[in-house]
């Protein structure tokens, strides 16, 4: 499964080396959005990528990972989803001791300023606006990997 978003590994060599042990959760109710995002993350060398279709499934996977002692290193989560939205998941994560330090990147087509501010003031680490390109994902992953390494 590969999404062609114009990413070339020659531009991400160093990043590739440092992301092999990363475990990332991708949450979106649209299969297409998950596929595109996962395609880029795979090219960045992310070692383990787990999918969830809504906030509830994501919450269960986050809990299981914690219980197994193998927590996630990063969450990419869509804002608007049925059952349990990305915003609700963000609030839950930030209120939960075991989850609050996992970098949470809100992914959404809601690109207007109030939406961006709402996510960031609620604790999102960063914000990815759809339609995203490979470079913007690479930049965000790079920043998070570097900040973790520092």
């Amino acid at each position: 499964m590969t999404a062609s978003l114009g990413l070339h590994n020659k531009n991400t060599g160093d990043l590739f080396m440092s992301t092999q042990n990363y475990k990332v959760l991708v949450v979106d109710d649209f299969e297409l959005a998950r596929t595109m995002l996962i395609g880029v993350l795979q090219k960045l060398g992310i070692g383990k990528i787990i999918q969830a279709q809504d906030g509830m499934e994501a919450m269960n996977k986050l809990k299981t990972a914690q219980d197994e002692g193998n927590p996630f290193d990063m969450i990419f989560c869509d804002w608007k989803m049925p059952n349990y939205s990305g915003y609700e998941l963000l609030v839950h994560c930030k209120k939960t001791d075991d989850l609050k330090n996992i970098p949470f990147i809100m992914v959404t087509a809601e690109a207007d300023k109030p939406s961006v501010l709402k996510a960031l003031t609620s604790g999102a680490t960063d914000y990815l606006i759809k339609p995203f390109d490979a470079k913007s994902i690479t930049d965000k992953v790079n920043r998070l990997v570097n900040s973790k390494a520092a």
Partner: protein, 169 residues
């Protein structure tokens, strides 16, 4: 009925909408498909009927105006776009195709909303609905003015349209 928001800049069919339509589709194709769509001549009219094989439709709401934003795709175009992403052939309209139309439409609506917001317009949008059927028509129940922008891409043709209606108090 919602309370009217003071100083709300009401959406009208003008060059701002035209610009937002063009930009929202262009950004999607640039970022995801690495190509540039070419807009055709924009059609204006009341009771504008639009045709497509697959459509993504979302409501657009201001305090005293509502409208329908619609993105129309040909079957061939959607198959080629999804083949580009999934790296496999598509020949029938299945769940992945409908999911794809929903997500691509969603991306266009989000960018359209952002472009309009940057030009001073604020509004809310409903969750999009996907309609399919070979060469189906969508007849708006809104009797207000509409505009339709056809677009040509390397993958096939599509369109984006907006029909408005003013609330009657």
């Amino acid at each position: 009925m919602e309370a009217k928001i003071l100083n709300e800049k009401r959406i009208e069919l003008n060059e701002h909408v035209e610009m937002a339509m063009k930009s929202s589709v262009s950004l999607l194709f640039k970022n995801v498909f690495d190509c540039k769509p070419t807009p055709g001549i924009v059609a204006y009219g009341n009771g504008l009927e639009t045709k497509a094989d697959l459509s993504g439709i979302a409501g657009l709401i201001q305090s005293d105006m509502h409208g329908v934003l619609k993105v129309g795709f040909s079957e061939g175009l959607i198959f080629r776009l999804l083949e580009h992403i999934y790296q496999r052939k598509f020949s029938t309209i299945d769940h992945s195709v409908l999911d794809g139309v929903g997500e691509l439409s969603n991306n266009i609506y989000g960018q359209f909303k952002k472009e309009m917001y940057d030009m001073g317009y604020s509004f809310r949008m409903t969750i999009p609905t996907v309609i399919y059927g070979k060469d189906h028509s969508v007849y708006p129940f809104l009797d207000g003015p509409g505009m339709l922008m056809p677009l040509r891409t390397d993958f096939g043709d599509m369109s984006i349209s907006l029909i408005l209606n003013q609330y009657l108090y």
